[in-house]
């Protein structure tokens, strides 16, 4: 059932394709700015799992993870809020055989689908730029989907609690520091010990660490910890979203 909602979003986006396409360029611009421009000032970097890589290869996975987060959060907060409060889209959806849980599944699947397209495109750019060394890098695609799932779930759950656009400042307030400080642009070892624990508690840190290690081709058991963190986060968000939508739309 949820598939019909994905189809609806796909059709609606035929007019907004420029927005869709432009989303791909953001990580690419960052990659060339940081990787190429700053790369020669930085030189080689040692990742937290001990590999020594050029700076561009260090930031590329982080940008992939961050863009999966940004896309999922944007889709599951701004877009969903607009549909929920202004377009009253879900009120019409519920007049059909679809239920609140289908809405949650449909919207999150849509966010994941869109994120997957960006991830594939970005990975191609990274490979063409010569920053991929190992075939394990293909695992970055499911990893990006997992990051999208975790953030879309929590983002959508948070959206059901929002009263007005002013509340979206809190979203910004959560996203921007994570984008800048989750071992994205510089390794965890740069931080003092006490701050390292804070960074390690954030979901984006786990996403970045996961994508970075698979892209460098370093597979180890610790990766399962990152996966578990993101899976649990997504499931909790998903569960809360279903419950909340039921209350908001059906009572």
């Amino acid at each position: 059932m949820a598939r019909t909602l994905v189809e609806r979003n796909l059709r609606a986006f035929r007019h907004g394709w420029i927005t869709l396409v432009s989303g791909f360029f953001e990580p690419v611009f960052y990659l060339f700015s940081l990787g190429v421009g700053l790369g020669s000032l930085v030189g080689a970097v040692t990742t937290d799992s001990g590999a020594e890589v050029p700076y561009a290869a260090f930031v590329a996975p982080a940008l992939l993870a961050a863009s999966a987060m940004n896309g999922a959060v944007y889709d599951s907060t701004f877009n969903v809020f607009f549909k929920l409060k202004y377009a009253k889209l879900y009120d019409s959806v519920l007049a059909t055989p679809l239920g609140p849980r289908d809405v949650a599944v449909g919207e999150i699947s849509w966010a994941l689908l869109r994120g997957q397209v960006y991830a594939v495109a970005f990975l191609v750019v990274v490979a063409v730029a010569g920053l991929v060394e190992s075939w394990w890098a293909l695992l970055a695609l499911p990893a990006a989907t997992l990051i999208g799932f975790a953030f879309a779930g929590v983002g959508m759950a948070a959206t059901t609690f929002m009263r007005s656009w002013v509340d979206f400042d809190y979203v910004q307030l959560a996203i921007l520091p994570m984008f800048l400080f989750s071992a994205t642009f510089f390794p965890l070892s740069t931080y003092p010990d006490s701050l390292q624990l804070v960074v390690q508690a954030t979901p984006l840190y786990h996403g970045v660490a996961l994508v970075r290690d698979v892209m460098i081709g370093q597979l180890h058991v610790g990766l399962l910890g990152h996966v578990a963190y993101l899976v649990v986060m997504g499931l909790v968000g998903f569960y809360v979203t279903g419950r909340r939508l039921e209350r908001l739309l059906l009572s």
């Binding site: 907004g16 420029i18 927005t19 432009s22 989303g23 360029f25 953001e26 611009f29 960052y30 060339f32 700015s33 940081l34 190429v36 421009g37 700053l38 020669s40 000032l41 930085v42 030189g43 970097v45 700076y55 002013v166 400042d169 910004q172 307030l173 921007l176 520091p177 800048l180 400080f181 642009f185 510089f186 740069t190 931080y191």
Partner: protein
């Protein structure tokens, strides 16, 4: 008559300023902290000492100019279009004795004040952190406002001529963001591929960044700084003429 238009926008801001705290005050400081303190540990022990100064001191004036650009563009898109199409504040103003130029100038001065306050807060914090190396940096404040205006006036012209907000996404993604990343904010443009460097010379942001950096590092020489200021002034004046023409054709009956 333009101060009356200005007073409307100021009154409006008094009701909505909370929302701008994150975007205009916190964002630049977070970038300064991440790049200037985090990334700096990598740059400062990097292979070549191309910058000659601590990285945080290098990027602080860059972030200042980039923030001036972002604040100015942010204030010149939806609010201009909204004042024409949605909330129609311009029409309300024009129903009184104000003329189109008053409406335009009043709104532009408001944007300049927003840039001024944002830049001043950033400079105070950066100064308190000890990353600004010269007292000449005080002059970077008017330079930041001028940088903002060099963007605000052409964007006003664009916002007044466009029919839908789809163009703003393109503006942010394909103009503002690339300028933010490639105009010398985070690394000297000499690191760019050769063909891209001359492009940077034409963009107002590069001139804003270069002038504020020279002032902030205390390496400013009179002629180059005046040259940068002149380019910014030409952008501002050219943009103003375009904006006035766009406002007249859209708003005058």
């Amino acid at each position: 008559m333009w101060p009356r238009a200005l007073s409307y926008w100021l009154l409006n801001y008094r009701r909505t300023w909370r929302g701008s705290v994150v975007s205009s005050f916190l964002t630049p400081l977070l970038f300064l902290a991440a790049m200037g303190f985090g990334l700096a540990t990598l740059v400062d022990r990097g292979p070549n000492d191309a910058l000659g100064v601590p990285y945080v001191s290098f990027i602080a004036p860059g972030v200042l100019a980039a923030t001036a650009m972002q604040t100015a563009v942010g204030e010149s898109t939806f609010s201009v279009m909204g004042a024409i199409k949605w909330q129609r504040q311009y029409h309300a103003m024009l129903a009184g004795p104000m003329g189109v130029t008053d409406v335009l100038v009043g709104h532009l001065v408001y944007v300049a004040l927003r840039v001024l306050v944002t830049s001043a807060v950033f400079l105070l914090v950066a100064g308190a952190l000890g990353v600004l190396l010269s007292w000449w940096v005080v002059l970077a404040l008017p330079v930041a406002v001028l940088t903002g205006m060099a963007f605000a006036t052409p964007v006003f012209a664009f916002a007044a001529t466009t029919e839908s907000d789809a163009g703003f996404n393109v503006l942010f993604r394909f103009v503002v963001m690339p300028l933010f990343l490639f105009s010398g904010t985070f690394f000297p443009i000499s690191q760019l591929p050769g063909v891209l460097q001359p492009v940077a010379w034409f963009t107002p942001l590069w001139h804003g960044v270069s002038a504020s950096r020279a002032l902030s590092l205390g390496t400013a020489e009179v002629l180059p700084v005046l040259g940068h200021v002149l380019v910014l002034a030409v952008w501002t004046a050219g943009g103003f003429l375009l904006a006035r023409r766009a406002f007249r054709s859209r708003l005058e009956v």
